[in-house]
């Protein structure tokens, strides 16, 4: 057993985290109105990691766990970066091969209307 009381913390930190999640999600939604580009993509990813970090650290109590559990759970996902890198290379190659053999897309997509 970790400690007798388990993961018990003052309520205040949950309220702060909760409000922070609402504000950050509001910002995330706001980025949808920005023009496409590097700035918007950076903002989307930054907000995503801030929210994810808050959920794992505060709501899932990872910040209060011992280092053994932290490392066992948080280190393996880092290697997903390798998969992302490999698949990005592969996607680039597939895209160029398709352009080479099939040419540019001739598709004329409709605009959704609700």
């Amino acid at each position: 057993m970790a400690s007798e009381e388990g993961q018990q913390h003052p309520l205040r930190i949950y309220w702060i985290m909760w409000i922070a999640l609402f504000i950050l999600s509001g910002f995330s939604y706001w980025t949808d109105f920005w023009p496409d580009g590097a700035l918007r993509q950076t903002a989307i990813l930054t907000l995503m990691f801030m929210k994810a970090g808050g959920i794992v650290w505060i709501f899932m109590h990872m910040g209060w766990e011992r280092l053994a559990l932290k490392l066992a759970i948080l280190v393996p996902p880092v290697f997903i970066g390798v998969l992302i890198w490999l698949m990005a290379i592969e996607a680039d190659y597939t895209f160029l091969t398709r352009i080479e053999f099939f040419g540019e897309s001739t598709m004329e997509p409709q605009t959704p209307h609700h």
């Binding site: 309520l11 949950y14 909760w18 939604y29 011992r66 393996p76 990005a88 540019e104 609700h114």
Partner: protein
Amino acid sequence: MSEAAVTSSGDVLPDGTKGFVEDFSADKQAFQVPWGKAMMWIFLLSDTFIFSIFLVSYMKVRMSTTDPWPNPSIVFGLEVGGVSVPLLLIAIMTFILITSSGTMALAVNMGYRKDKKKTFWLMVATAALGASFVGMQAFEWTKLISEGVRPWGNPFGAAQFGSSFFMITGFHGMHVSAGVIYLLVVANRVRTGFYERRGNNYEIVEVAGLYWHFVDLVWVFIFALFYLW
């Protein structure tokens, strides 16, 4: 066959089945948490990889298609009073899931305070919010299907859009649905005093909470990478 294993204190360990059982029941503990919590974390780690594989394959098909990708903020937009609001339903779903994460965090806290009644009602509120999330997702699926979006093609652009959408949101929705059932089962046991009789121990509420927060966590990634990107 290998040499008989000897421990540092000089004891000879048995071989074969008996040795296997002794090794696995050896008095070694790496994680100083209740076993239920350690196992939930390990399950969530494996689930992280499953969702990562879905999202990475979505990245791969989106990068490699030569057809234009449908604009999610228009595809998922809703018309309110004649004005088209981009991504409206998705934004509402996001806020519902965040709200449910907050009620769950409070439920865990009330569990550790041995406040049965508050824990029960907060868990029921969490499950209700989760169920409404799934309901909105069903509405979203119905809308897209009626507009002609299929796993093999759609009128708005690259065919891979449909397969990625149904796969990723479907698997996430399944997790939410399972979570709602899980929360209701645990909430009912809180109500009937099942945990009270077992040493007044509400750690299972925290374990259920881990699962629920994870579902919210996955949604953060889906929202950013699929809907906003």
